[in-house]
């Protein structure tokens, strides 16, 4: 396909061009409508490859001069896509875990993962987002007669933190690829069930792919649709609205109209509340900063099991560092980061889940939210 640039000189030429556009159904890039074609004004038309010669002949016949603005539209489209995205592979056997994937592909991936690992994995409905998209979590569970404790992990509560859903997908893949051969993982699964929510804030994630890469919140409309988004990690019922939030929708840390005002928050909270007596550990994955954060954000008063929480977190940070030397800071949010209320991690601990952690993955600000895909593998490997 080519895009031609024409400046019609006479009214007759305008008429001919309008005729050409409507009979051949050509794609007008500028102006938008044939009736807005004027003599002396720029005209940009996209001509399908099959019609290029015919259109050029017609223009020559009518003495209408033209320039080829874009000689190959497809080439331009291909160039504008990041190189990795062009090879479109969806099945887990060919699924590329070292690339970022849009939500469509993540949905397909979940279906496939369950299909190819049905003895271990089941996909479950969790709820719906504000834009009515379905939230699913994956349950990785080895059949057994004893009831097992649960480890819950959610990713992508903040839309722009792309490395987070990438990690959840990587994690699932690692477990499924190695549970038979790796004694640590197989012992793990004998005693524990893993529940993984690859993308919590689905609407936001899609928005960060299509509209605004640095979007953070969900897509809940407020103020008659003039302002969008609640920070889901300020929306949980843990000292909601008390500190480190804004009551203004235009802020990135807007806590919503009330605790659990957002359907995404409710979907997660209701499920975890129901299962809480069996949940041993709640993990929520974010970026960036390289921290393992313990409760609380809303107060500096330490949680009841603070020593144990810190001990486990420190061991995790040490293991992580052992892989590539990446250093993670460990501590309570209110002491090492900033104060905030309504976080999912605080809430999970407050309702009785003993081990509750926020992971802030790579990096420390050099790339921030826009972490290059070539860091997906090392980040995931060390975090694993």
């Amino acid at each position: 396909d080519q895009v031609l640039h024409i400046v019609p000189e006479t009214f007759q030429q305008v008429q001919h061009l309008q005729h050409l556009c409507s009979t051949l159904l050509l794609d007008l890039w500028k102006p938008l409508l044939p009736e807005d074609i004027w003599a002396g004004e720029d005209l940009h038309i996209r001509v399908p490859a099959a019609l290029v010669q015919e259109v050029k002949d017609s223009l020559d016949q009518h003495m209408i001069s033209y320039k080829v603005l874009i000689p190959d539209v497809q080439e331009l489209v291909d160039q504008s896509m990041p190189r990795e995205r062009r090879s479109h592979r969806q099945i887990p056997e060919g699924y590329v875990y070292t690339q970022y994937h849009p939500m469509e592909e993540i949905y397909q991936w979940m279906t496939q993962i369950q299909k190819s690992n049905s003895e271990l994995v089941t996909q479950h409905y969790l709820g719906k987002t504000i834009e009515n998209r379905t939230m699913y979590y994956l349950q990785i569970s080895q059949p057994s007669d004893k009831t097992k404790k649960i480890i819950w992990m959610d990713c992508g509560i903040h839309a722009r933190e792309w490395i987070s859903p990438a990690f959840c997908q990587w994690f699932v893949k690692e477990i499924l690829q190695n549970y038979k051969s790796d004694p640590k993982i197989s012992r793990f699964l004998q005693n524990l069930d893993l529940y993984v929510l690859p993308v919590l804030n689905i609407d936001g994630y899609i928005y960060s792919w299509e509209r605004d890469r640095l979007w953070r919140k969900n897509r809940s409309p407020y103020m008659n649709g003039t302002c969008y988004g609640t920070d889901l990690n300020r929306n949980f019922n843990s000292s909601w609205g008390s500190i480190g939030v804004s009551y203004n929708c235009s802020s990135e840390i807007f806590c919503g109209s009330g605790p659990e005002s957002e359907p995404e928050t409710r979907a997660v909270a209701q499920f975890i509340e129901r299962k809480k007596s069996d949940i041993l550990c709640y993990l929520t994955i974010h970026s960036y900063g390289q921290y393992i954060l313990t409760p609380y954000g809303s107060t500096t008063k330490p949680p009841s099991n603070s020593e144990e929480l810190m001990h486990v977190a420190e061991k995790a940070a040490a293991a992580l560092m052992g892989k590539y030397g990446t250093s993670y800071e460990v501590g309570s949010t209110s002491l090492i980061l900033y104060s905030n209320s309504g976080s999912s991690r605080d809430w999970a601990h407050m309702i009785g889940i003993p081990f509750s952690y926020t992971f802030e993955l790579r990096d420390k600000g050099t790339h921030g939210f826009v972490l290059p895909a070539d860091q997906i593998q090392p980040t995931c490997e060390e975090t694993m």
């Binding site: 640095l214 802020s251 826009v370 290059p372």
Partner: protein
């Protein structure tokens, strides 16, 4: 805490060269945040122990490349949404980073933590002298408020004269 003046921090840090991870250099610094008036930048004094790597060659290659362009350089979204920066844009990225450091310093308080998130747009400005000048629109990420703040800045650069931010202004959120 210093009387009616403000709060001073004494720091010992290690500087790491982004382009050469093994190139580390020790540094000590003193930062004084002024009491009251939040519109003045904190005072900073520092000493670097040792020498920073010489970058003359790379600087000159970049300088000559830009001078030989037929049209003024224009670019957007560095890095792109997947975190990639093309090799030709790498120096433009690094220049923005250095310049944003100045903007960040001028606008920091004890309660802010800024990082350069992305270059939204950069346009070279033609000059009659031998300096290179770029007009940048950058996005700064502020950690505490989590806000993404657009900021426009005019940056002057010359291999021997270094970086200068001649004008900058915070922009309204879209």
């Amino acid at each position: 805490d210093i009387g009616d003046v403000g709060r001073k921090y004494h720091l010992e840090l290690v500087l790491e060269d982004v382009l050469d991870k093994d190139g580390t250099v020790n540094c000590t610094a003193e930062v004084l945040y002024h009491l009251g008036n939040k519109n003045t930048a904190p005072d900073v004094h520092f000493t670097i122990e040792g020498e920073l790597k010489n970058t003359d060659e790379a600087d000159n290659v970049f300088y000559n490349r830009i001078q030989s362009l037929e049209k003024e350089l224009v670019a957007e979204n560095i890095p792109d949404n997947h975190g990639n920066v093309s090799p030709e844009m790498e120096p433009i990225h690094l220049l923005a980073w250095a310049a944003s450091g100045y903007v960040i310093w001028q606008n920091s308080t004890e309660n802010t933590k800024f990082q350069l998130a992305q270059i939204k747009h950069v346009k070279q400005v033609k000059r009659s002298d031998e300096h290179l000048e770029f007009d940048y629109m950058i996005l700064l990420h502020e950690m505490v408020s989590q806000e993404i703040i657009p900021w426009q800045m005019r940056v002057l650069w010359h291999p021997q004269h270094g970086v200068q931010v001649t004008q900058d202004s915070r922009q309204p959120k879209h």
